[in-house]
Subunit: 312 residues, 2 copies
């Protein structure tokens, strides 16, 4: 079933799980083992899509030392087509537009099966990156070469907090063909609510339907992971940071924080009839954090199913 | 029963209600009518204290036009002793230290019955006010002339958001004798949680007990009141402002927002064993907003009683 169909079927809680492809230096045998283990872990979940990130070395965006080293990863599209062949559901492949030439992007989007793949186009992480294709060009290429390929866009609550115009950027992306948004990892629930609120009212003012906003959640099991989240640009409210630093079990504390955020966002979106969903990722590769991510996704799935059954 | 006794009795939800004395030009007969009507409205509530504000013309702090005009009010201490004689419970009288000479303040604190009155000393609203007594001097005067008078202090979550050191200011006030805090009106629950979280951990690091933090809540029934709250320095998150602007019934929407904030703060403080309470005020003098404030206080009282009974 294609993603746009899933969106229609589940306006009250799309569920995605995001992974980062293994390092480029991984042997084919190891890449296959990693892919198989990932699918085993996710086998118990009723996911609407698997999200594959396209990692960029974002040191141009943040000059502070990266808490985890940057290591080039396998191309997410390649990882999918070579190693995730057993995955029968839709895949959302991220594409950092600036990394590819227009011809490369055009070839790639043309080759995708729109029933299986959708793509989230990501703009350059900073103004002075060496950009090979701008986000606008990439969007035009998609419309021209693969009009049926479902397009997603990125939405960043932190940018809305500092500049106040993320909702307008979302409206422009929507006009350029974007049919759903995936946010940066949400720790500041107020910022996320303000962003979707402004987006919701902007759509209403224009007489248009809002497209689903998929909120990314990520558990944090250690001070190092917390540091990495903040390095990535995630605003962690002071009280959450304190609780994560002072608890004996940061993973359990973080899990509770994530489910509280999800509950708040779900209630908010339901009240405003904004279609929404959740995307769970682990920003660290520690086993405990990955397993807690799978448990978080299971929790969100149970929550969403219970909600659906409660409403006649 | 004195306030410090109430604090001991109710670490899980002190309840106060705040009023502003009538304008200075009010006739004695009208002032008595206003006082009587206020006490009638509050008769159904089990309040731990009545809070009397000492209003300052804060135009030196905010150069923007004041949404409601500033009108000098009766002195809160005078209003209490002349017109609120029927009120048998404690009163918390605000004193803007800068408005009075040290001798005036010393005389006043000496004359108060510490079983009936406590005072919240407020510092000047901006650095360049014509200050007759600084906050530090006023605190010293209290310790010297009225060591038994319960002292309160002001805590401002917005200042914590922008400067990050409100918890240190709270710790200094506590060292100067402050036994409870009353916050500025809370709309940004995350900011309030981060402030008390930092305060809580600072107390713990110093091996000291946190004193109660009384959160001020205020319903907003119109765009004008919202504008006034923001003029006063209250940070209203974008999504709350949107909802208040787009609803047919702002008072009902605001009431729900306030009870959600209260629930969040109560759960947070309970989880961290931070003694807390609520203070309800109406920043507008519109009847509908005042009546909704009384309903909000009744709701908080019912919530707190239910909570007490639920825990064996």
């Amino acid at each position: 079933m294609e993603l746009t169909e899933q969106v229609r079927r589940r306006p009250d809680g799309l569920l995605m799980f995001a992974i980062t492809p293994p390092r480029r230096t991984t042997t084919p045998a190891d890449a296959q083992r990693i892919a198989d283990r990932t699918l085993e872990r996710l086998a118990g979940l009723d996911l609407d899509a698997l999200v594959l990130y396209d990692i960029d070395d974002e040191t141009d965006r943040n000059p502070d030392e990266r808490p985890f080293p940057y290591l080039p990863t396998l191309d997410p599209a390649e990882f999918r087509s070579r190693y995730l062949t057993r995955w029968q559901r839709p895949v959302v492949v991220y594409r950092s537009a600036g990394k590819y030439s227009p011809a490369e992007l055009a070839d790639w989007v043309t080759a995708q099966d729109p029933h299986q793949v959708s793509t989230v186009l990501v703009g350059a992480s900073s103004g002075d990156s060496a950009v090979r294709t701008t986000l606008g060009e990439a969007q035009r290429l998609c419309r021209e070469h693969a009009p049926d390929l479902p397009l997603g866009g990125v939405a960043i609550p932190e940018r809305h907090e500092s500049r106040g115009d993320e909702h307008l950027r979302m409206r422009r992306k929507q006009a350029a063909g974007v049919g759903f948004f995936v946010t940066q990892v949400v720790y500041d629930v107020g910022a996320a609510k303000s962003m979707v609120s402004d987006y919701h009212y902007a759509c209403r003012d224009d007489g248009q339907q809002a497209v689903p906003v998929v909120f990314t959640l990520s558990v944090c099991g250690s001070p190092k992971t917390l540091e990495f989240l903040e390095w990535l640009g995630v605003h962690v409210p002071g009280w959450m940071r304190n609780d994560l630093h002072h608890t004996d079990d940061p993973l359990a504390t973080s899990f509770d924080q994530c489910t509280a955020i999800a509950e708040d966002l779900a209630q908010f979106c339901t009240r405003h009839q904004i279609p929404y969903g959740f995307n769970v990722e682990s920003v660290s590769i520690r086993r405990a954090e990955i397993e807690a991510s799978v448990r978080l996704a299971a929790h969100l799935q149970a929550r969403s199913h219970a909600g659906r059954h409660a409403v006649p």
